[in-house]
Symmetry: C2
Subunit: 199 residues, 2 copies
Amino acid sequence: MGIAERKIREKEATRELILRVSWRIVKQQGWQSLSMRKIASSIEYSVPVIYNHFPNKEAILLAFVKQGFQKLNNALCGATVKQQSAEQRIEALAYAYLRFAATNTEYYQLMYGMGMPSCKMVRETAELSAFTDILLAPIRLVTCKNKSKEVDPLMKLRTFWSMLHGLVCITHMAGDHSDDQNKTVLKDFVHSFIAGIKN
Amino acid sequence: MGIAERKIREKEATRELILRVSWRIVKQQGWQSLSMRKIASSIEYSVPVIYNHFPNKEAILLAFVKQGFQKLNNALCGATVKQQSAEQRIEALAYAYLRFAATNTEYYQLMYGMGMPSCKMVRETAELSAFTDILLAPIRLVTCKNKSKEVDPLMKLRTFWSMLHGLVCITHMAGDHSDDQNKTVLKDFVHSFIAGIKN
DNA sequence: TATATTTGCTAACAGTGTTAACTTAAATTT
DNA sequence: AAATTTAAGTTAACACTGTTAGCAAATATA
């Protein structure tokens, strides 16, 4: 009996439809003004139908958070494979991170700006732990190589992440998307960061 | 005729009452659930009265943003006066910044988390330009001293601010308020930052 | 074909920010 | 002091928001 399967397929289809129209609304009007009624009218169903696919509005936004981290992870992975040394990889990661934040502002805002409920989220969502793993890998390589000083890779990860996110925030806030200054700041950052874990 | 003056005084009094009860609500229930009706019932007036003192709700929150930057500026100034060298001042600023963010989470969230309308705000609000001046002063001192390389103080300010804010964000997100790790990361940051502007 | 189940709808509840219209109180002018 | 003007504060509404209970219709199972 393929009926059940067809139903599952249909359900999945409308679920993705909801996400698709939601994303269109987010891009057009900002995620602040995404509403259940707007979604409902876009998918040409009544409002309660949405609740058959998502427990609440937050779950829809959370889906985008995960989607965003997946995209970010892909971008980061794509940036590392080309590089040879761990140091070059770290630098490439930093550039890729900033490029992602600059070109996917809606995603980035959702990923970080949603009132930061992330205390539990960091551990629970797979996409986020994958993200930290990607950043951690080349850091581990460098820290292991030089055993003169004992440096905690997890601490260095935090340093690196703080650096990147801070730069994105301030850049975003200044409304300055001329990458001139940013690249200089980033270069500055990355080089001193790498120097900090090497010696 | 002191009537007009008394009226001005009364008006100012209820304005401050609005801010006072609003802040109480923010601290108790979070700024997300601050509402005009809650404010109205707290001040024992009807809702439209609030609009005689503030054009809209955002203006109330903006008042807290300014208040927050004033408090931050005070904390930063208090931290610098004790220090002798510019390098020590920079380090003290960094610690004071993190301490402020840790102890005044509500303020910090409002100052940065309000959907970042700050594009115009950065230039327009006096408290923010005062803030940047405070950070900029010791940076300028160090950059001027060493004329071997030409470093842009404004760029270094961005680097410094990014560093601090990024660290606050990630710390906040991790829900980790044990200052052990943070202090190590911050020390790491500050030293490499100072090294970056010296040579 | 009759029964059970899922699906989708309308309408409502309890909120939100904001504002127009009206009443009451206060201050000014005659 | 009385009449008029001005300011203050109220109620009630508008247009939204997320969420859910109750009911009708379409579908799948027995």
